[in-house]
């Protein structure tokens, strides 16, 4: 048959020519009739099924539908508000749904200086967010204290909570914040396991691992905690 001479397409690849499209249509018709078998059937499956892991699909979904918390701290918040506007439009990346409650939010943007009076409040908001959760520290002040080297301002928000992405600037342009958000998406897609718990030596603080006595030990402990959780999920 002539259509056997056509190369097999990669999974979910769009047919490049009219001929390839026609071949695929014919093969699908044969499949529905029940005529397809042997090498033809294998080729059809190869072209139309994409095999992946559940974790990857989950992270793909997470990274492309992020809910930021509606939370502004200082002047950076003005730039942060602009990213929702049509000019910068964070909706292109699926993160335009600002949630009014930390319990519905996936990530927090620390937009401005954190005073020592505000720090416990920010920490409480972070603790109230459901896992998985991420934090973007926006601007010089929340990353390092910035120009406020004084008695009233915390010298970097990562002194009291984990921060995933630091966006430099005073204030950063909305484009810079969007770029930081894209970096966060790549982080979620790329290596979800090496999150802040591994970096901050915080294995065992997950909600699902609270009754195990895990003290210390970095990535090994963290992987052990994951195995315990997997075993619990299987049982």
């Amino acid at each position: 048959m002539r259509r056997e001479r056509i190369r097999a397409l990669a999974p979910l690849e769009q047919p490049a020519t009219r001929e390839e499209l026609r071949v695929r249509q014919l093969r699908a018709r044969d499949l529905l009739r029940g005529d397809l078998d042997g090498a033809e059937l294998e080729k059809h499956v190869e072209e139309s099924v994409l095999a992946t892991t559940l974790e990857k699909v989950l992270n793909w979904g997470r990274a492309n539908a992020m809910f930021p918390a509606t939370f502004g701290l200082a002047c950076c918040a003005i730039e942060m508000m602009a990213i929702v506007s049509p000019r910068y439009d964070i909706a292109r990346f699926g993160a335009e749904a600002m949630r009014a409650s930390p319990r519905q939010a996936d990530f927090l943007i620390l937009s401005g200086r954190v005073s020592i009076k505000m720090a416990p409040v920010v920490r409480r908001l972070y603790d109230q967010m459901l896992e998985p959760k991420w934090v973007i520290s926006m601007g010089a002040c929340s990353s390092s204290g910035g120009m406020f080297a004084n008695y009233a301002v915390v010298q970097g928000a990562d002194k009291f909570m984990p921060v995933d992405i630091h966006v430099p600037g005073c204030p950063p342009r909305p484009e810079a914040l969007l770029y930081g958000f894209n970096k966060l998406q790549r982080k979620i897609l790329g290596n979800p396991d090496a999150g802040w718990r591994a970096r901050y030596n915080a294995a065992g603080t997950e909600e699902w691992a609270h009754d195990e006595t895990i003290t210390d030990g970095g990535i090994e402990e963290y992987q052990r905690a994951r195995e315990i959780a997997r075993a619990a999920a299987d049982a």
Binding site: K117, A149, N150, Y151, V153, Q155
Partner: protein, 176 residues
Amino acid sequence: MPDAPGLELIAQELNDAQEGSVVGTYHEHGQACLIVDPRHILHVLRWLRDTPAQQYRFLAGLHAADYLPAEPRFGVHYELLNMARVERVRVRAALADPGGEELPELDSCVELFPTAEFQEREAYDFFGISFRGHPDQRRILMPEDYVGWPQRRDFPMGGEPVIFTRDEPTAPGWYE
């Protein structure tokens, strides 16, 4: 505002009513100021508010300042306004530092000007000036468990020192 002779007349009348209440005056940059003995601050404020010829009925501002190393060290400023004549006069209570843990004390003027309540709390919060008779004297802006009086001149700045490359001549080997 009262001109320089007018200010001297006010000071004279105050001293006539209460001996030693006005310590000094100054009149510069178009602003009139009475420097007052802190023991008589309520007398001065009440006289300026209630005397028919004065009628400074509005307290536009109350703030403290630290004049270290000058003596007396603290000043509490009251900005008074006569709304009918749009005239302003400043009263400064010159407070000495009692030293140690003890706080300088001053009579509260909340009963004369209710607006002073929050402003006296702010002066207490940042300068550690205690107002006798204040209805609710506690910190207003800093956290309630904060220790120290951060706007005093001898209070450490805080923060973390950051050394830049331009500091290389003055701090050689900073990067080690």
